[in-house]
């Protein structure tokens, strides 16, 4: 019997977050023909808009509206969803900061198994699902089996599944009356924006990005010279910011900025998922790395296996001479 699949739709400002459509595709793998129900929690006109939009994609949308959910507080959402989902439900979430906050505890309250950061799955057989996850920063992958016969909570990696193209004429069901008391031990206060730096990399078309392979703070100049020659700007991966060699606003990644450049040069970047998670759109990716096995070469369009400290200055020189 096909599992009852729900998809949790995160949203902001009246728009569903990007992964929502990917979750629908993932849901299709679990239930090729059965209904997939979208669940959205929040409050106000924004929530209504999102529900309407999702109703154009799946047959049923559950709206959970409550003041306590005005800001997506994972503690409140957990209480809310637990009260509303039927037992045996399989719930898909995006593996983002909300998913990490919500998923594990939710699985306990639903008394279901939990698998995070799923990158692939096969259709379930006899209530058992075969999944793929990555470990050790993407160096290896594992096959897992998960018994979903009693339900499950799965968080899905962004970009692992294509955005669903299905359309539907669906119905929005207001499940708000079923929501009980949402008071919880954690209360949202405010968002503190990231420091505005001197540069906004999210607006740049050409990014020259440096990772651990730059080896030394003083070498960043090499990247700056290339950026200047190309008319772009320098960005970086997390270790560079942790080492305080560049400021946080320059960081590309899931905990940094999301960028949509036309051209992205990844210098000495291994290509960890968290970093690539900040790269959207369809940029032309050039990777320069001494390690031919670096994962970045899987996603790059063009690769140069060389020491960036030697290659890049030469590249800059040739460009400047033209």
């Amino acid at each position: 019997m096909a599992p009852q699949v729900f998809v949790y739709v995160a949203h902001r400002g009246g728009q569903a977050a990007d992964p929502a459509l990917e979750l629908l595709s993932a849901a299709r793998v679990l239930s090729p023909n059965g209904p997939v129900i979208a669940v959205a929690a929040g409050h106000g006109a924004g929530l209504d808009q999102v529900c309407r939009d999702m109703a154009g994609r799946c047959l049923e949308v559950w709206k959970l509206s409550n003041e306590a959910l005005a800001y997506p507080n994972a503690e409140a959402i957990r209480k809310c969803v637990t009260g509303v989902l039927p037992s045996g439900a399989v719930l898909l979430l995006a593996h983002d900061t909300l998913g990490m906050d919500l998923g594990p505890g939710l699985s306990i309250k639903l008394d279901s198994p939990f698998v995070s950061d799923v990158v692939a799955m096969d259709p379930p057989q006899d209530g058992v699902l075969k999944l793929v996850r990555e470990e050790y920063g993407g160096q290896v992958s594992t096959h897992l089996s998960c018994d979903i016969s009693g339900g499950a909570v799965l968080s899905i990696r962004s970009g692992a599944f294509p955005a669903s193209e299905e359309t539907a004429v669906g119905e929005v069901r207001d499940k708000s009356p079923d929501i009980g008391d949402l008071s919880c031990g954690r209360r949202f206060i405010k968002i503190v924006g990231a420091e505005a730096g001197d540069v906004d990399i999210t607006k740049e078309e050409i990014l020259v990005s440096v990772g651990r392979g730059i080896e030394d703070e003083d070498n960043i100049e090499i990247a700056e010279d290339l950026a200047k020659a190309l008319g772009g700007v320098v960005s970086c991966s997390r270790p560079i910011v942790d080492a305080k060699w560049l400021e946080k606003p320059r960081q590309v990644g899931t905990s940094g900025k999301t960028v949509k450049p036309k051209v992205y040069l990844a210098l000495g970047i291994s290509g960890s998922f968290q970093h690539l998670g900040g790269l959207k759109g369809n940029p032309f990716i050039v990777a320069v790395n001494k390690n031919p096995k670096a994962p970045i070469f899987q996603v790059a369009d063009v690769g140069v296996v060389d020491d960036l400290l030697e290659f890049v200055p030469l590249l800059t020189e040739i460009i400047d001479n033209h």
């Binding site: 505890g105 096959h143 206060i189 899987q298 369009d301 030469l314």
Partner: protein
């Protein structure tokens, strides 16, 4: 504040090249060096700093094997006050939920104001903290980068969310938090520090001592099972440019020109 910190022994990520064993059953552990999970180390440092400022004690607990004893001792050397090792054959091959259940039983043995875990470990599952909180019915927040004690048994915490932004929350004690790297600068622990802990007893607790039904953890209780390890077939991937350094540079420039970069 009585603080419990959960730590895990993991392969040291520094220069370990992780490879899969030929039979796929596990990664190749021959040349591996182990250390405490980096995120957990930040959590221990945070706990120690909180106790230095507000009084109390820090207990470190780990679900592991006899080699985890060294990890626990390292955290004791750092400044934790007590340690416990949760080791039992019945615990092996537990899934994340199983580990959380074992920890939950240990947590119930005393009154803790605060329970900390690292945000994730080498498997990037990032799940034990949240599960543990739910099992103990404690309010929870993940990816915490700042903790401040407020009067009236509350904490003000900052979570790291997308775009480099911080989400500020207030959370009631007792609670559980998962800690993100960069929250502080962990102090150094050397061989001497660890030797000084040699006389400290780190009790080993099994299923019986924890009052835990072995059937609910370990292989028996796992609903999620690891089938194998593999390295996925490399797809086409990038086109690797060939030739001398100059030739490669020229080819690259031609490509960039083709994309409208460089006039």
């Amino acid at each position: 504040m009585e603080i419990l910190v959960c730590v895990k022994k993991v392969p040291d990520p520094a220069e370990n090249e992780i490879a899969v064993r030929r039979d796929g059953s596990d990664i190749d552990r021959d040349d591996l060096v182990y250390s405490v999970n980096e995120w957990d180390n930040y959590a221990v440092e945070e706990a120690i700093q909180l106790v230095e400022e507000h009084g109390g004690s820090v207990t470190v607990v780990s679900v592991g094997d006899e080699e985890s004893d060294e990890i626990i001792r390292r955290e004791l050397a750092m400044g934790a006050d007590a340690g416990k090792l949760l080791d039992d054959e019945a615990f092996h091959y537990s899934d994340g939920r199983g580990v959380a259940a074992i920890l939950a039983h240990a947590a119930r043995q005393a009154q803790y104001d605060l329970i900390l875990t690292g945000a994730q470990a080498e498997d990037a599952a990032a799940q034990v903290g949240g599960m543990l909180a739910a099992m103990l019915d404690l309010p929870y927040a993940s990816l915490v980068v700042r903790v401040e004690v407020k009067e009236g048994d509350k904490l003000e915490i900052a979570r790291e969310i997308d775009g480099g932004n911080l989400e500020i929350n207030e959370i009631d004690l007792p609670c559980a938090l998962s800690i993100q790297t960069g929250i502080n600068e962990p102090r150094y622990v050397g061989i001497r520090g660890i030797r000084k802990t040699a006389s400290v007893e780190v009790p080993v607790l099994g299923a019986a001592e924890l009052g835990l039904d072995p059937g609910t953890v370990g292989r028996a209780g796992a609903k999620v099972r690891k089938l194998d390890y593999f390295v996925p077939e490399l797809g086409q991937g990038a086109e690797i440019l060939q030739g001398s350094r100059e030739e490669i540079a020229d080819q690259l420039i031609a490509r960039l020109r083709g994309r409208g970069v460089i006039q």
